[in-house]
Symmetry: C2
Subunit: 211 residues, 2 copies
């Protein structure tokens, strides 16, 4: 627990990671279009030539940033839902636990959630090539499908007390998280995200829990 096995990075890979991390933080606060390569390399401590050695252009940077972001998020979801299932055999209970874990994870972020890269890209779509946009769409579809499977499992055991479209319900989680991140950032109140996840949890309970 807590120990992550970091595959040993070559110097080049380490630099790439550093660039991606710095760029991501910049993109989430200023947008992709307004993130200058100059400031990224300044913070990363390398020259422009060094940057273009790693990424052939700005769009390549976007692609790799996105891949990294999606992979990290996938990993987080894998962990959280696996832990939920480990703590309860009941699909509903497992999901409720996982939502709680998700809320706690978000609440533990030191200065709030830094932002969703997919939302950021969505509001700057014209800046990106087809590949980047297709990657964002596919990631969202994958997450929705993941949640949908979970709700399927729940609904077979606990029929919902009101008719509900499970696809919409699955979509709702991503929507709420993305929307709450925006509200947290806009109001400078990190708690909103946690609160909205817990509110959604309450609805899921209300919808599926017997009684």
């Amino acid at each position: 627990m807590g120990t992550v096995i970091e595959p040993r990075l070559s110097k080049g890979e380490a630099t790439r990671e550093r660039i991606l991390e710095i760029a991501e933080a910049a993109v989430l606060t200023k947008g992709f279009g307004a993130t200058s390569i100059d400031e990224v390399i300044a913070e990363a401590g390398l020259t422009k030539s060094g940057f273009f050695y790693h990424f052939k252009d700005k769009n390549a940077l976007a692609r790799e940033m996105l891949r990294r972001y999606v992979a990290t998020n996938d990993q987080l979801f894998d962990d959280i839902f696996a832990r939920g299932r480990a703590l309860s055999d009941d699909p509903l209970q497992a999901f409720l636990i996982s939502l709680k874990l998700l809320a706690e994870t978000m609440a533990d972020l030191p200065s709030g959630h830094p932002g969703c890269l997919i939302a950021s890209i969505c509001y700057q779509e014209r800046l990106f090539d087809r590949e980047v946009r297709e990657l964002t769409a596919q990631s969202v579809r994958d997450w929705n499908a993941r949640f949908r499977r979970i709700f399927d499992g729940i609904a077979t055991v606990y029929p919902p007390c009101e008719p509900v479209d499970l696809d919409d319900l699955a979509d709702a989680l991503s929507c709420i998280v993305d929307g709450a991140i925006i509200m947290s950032k806009t109001l400078n109140d990190p708690k909103k995200l946690e609160q909205q996840i817990m509110l959604f949890r309450g609805f899921v309970k209300l919808l599926f829990a017997p009684n």
Copy 2:
């Protein structure tokens, strides 16, 4: 119905409006930082001098864009919730009707919702001055307070079947709308927005409706 009284605009005001409309569309698809004044004036059919006659700099443009966006949205909410109240004296029914109207309004947008300017700004905060950021925060607070008052009215008549924080519930509407707009845009599926509003409507019903 349908007829809006347009206050007669002077030529200058008309140009300002045109600039703001073009700029807003550009900002919502490319971001503020990547929206060049050159392209805006090209589309608006005026020169750079003409632009700076109306707006002293890019931040002034952002401010006016935002004011316009907020005013339009406020007007929409005023209309929709007034119509809901006109159609039912019961606060819950009135709200459910309004949510339906909201969902329909969103569904009727020709090519989906163009995007939320506040979300766009939120993902480019560092580009804007304090005034713009304060304006976004205040707008969100106002909308949340508006919804909160409505839920207050409902809760006094219909006590919720489960304990729920009405502030969080009020926040949820903005979150869901913002999140669903992002999903709609990312997946290029305008229906998501309508579906999420109707799902939220279902939860409200489940929470407050007797039985």
